[in-house]
Amino acid sequence: MTQSRKPIVWGLFAAGGTVAAFILPVLILITCLAVPLGLFPADVLSFEHVSGLLQGLLSKLVVFGVLFLTIWHAAHRMRITAHDFGIRADTLVMLICYGIAAAATLLMLIALLRI
């Protein structure tokens, strides 16, 4: 049996899972629920405030890092889940899952460079 190349995607999966475990709940709370629940004033999500937060190189790197790792974590886990649901066409599933993650990565890179 040949040595697997899975360590690459698994490494991303593990790193992304760890990041997501620490950061994602509060991220969802802040971006989607804090304003409707009245915990933050609405202008926390305003164009000026958010653009301001993302100006520095460090913030861009951190945001990119967190979202990059998280999306690849999700992509890999979804690939495995498809297999668990009995979907056997692994190559197709791989292309879809990792393809979406790659497209999202590219989109995010371009967006962050422009902000």
């Binding site: 049996m1 040595q3 360590p7 690459i8 698994w10």
Partner: protein, 247 residues
Amino acid sequence: MTERTVELEVLRYDPDKDDAPGFQTYTVPYREDWVVLDAINYVKDELDRTLSYRWSCHMAVCGSCGMMINGEPSLSCHTFLRDCPEKIRIEPLQNFPVERDLVVVMDDFIDKLGSVKPYIVAKEERSVDDGEYLQTPAQLAKFKQYTACINCLLCYSACPQYALNDDFVGPAALALAHRYNLDSRDVGRSAREDVVASNPGIWECSFVGACSEVCPKSVDPAAAIQQTKIASAGDYFMKFLMPWKRK
């Protein structure tokens, strides 16, 4: 006063006569101190001599008596009647071909166990005159829990990845590989890599964790596999970044 009884619904299969397995029900006396194995032995001794099954030590160390008890992979010598409902469904271990009645074909596991080199791969040849290996309590503690495996195959029955793909090397074999990888006397990690770090090796595992939940000896094969993934991923990236480094 009628004696309290228990109903055993046993999946029978006679390869000479049957096209497929079918259930047969037996009524056995209930005894407070009986395990399911005692009830099955009662069936064989008193009711139906044709019932076939494996057992030996009757104390959860030999690993022979694994079977599905009410849908859960269990050792029949380790499952008390008093902890079971009045109707007990008994089937051969899931995910293995049925030889006859409750006897399964274990060959796949035996092959896989052999393939992970479950023995000390020593740095150099030693003779008895060289004396024993020296090992500290801390070195022993590192791998001790993984030595407890009794090859009962409950973990293979619980593992859905093994059910979906029987190429998977499986929990017990990988846990035993890990036992030797962690042993300070062993240098065989790279020798085992071909099987352990392959796609049907650790990478088929998705950490369901059912194997560890059903293990009667608390070996925790799921933990063994995850630790091996981390070590293997580390090795992989080291090879990439520092190909000159010898293991």
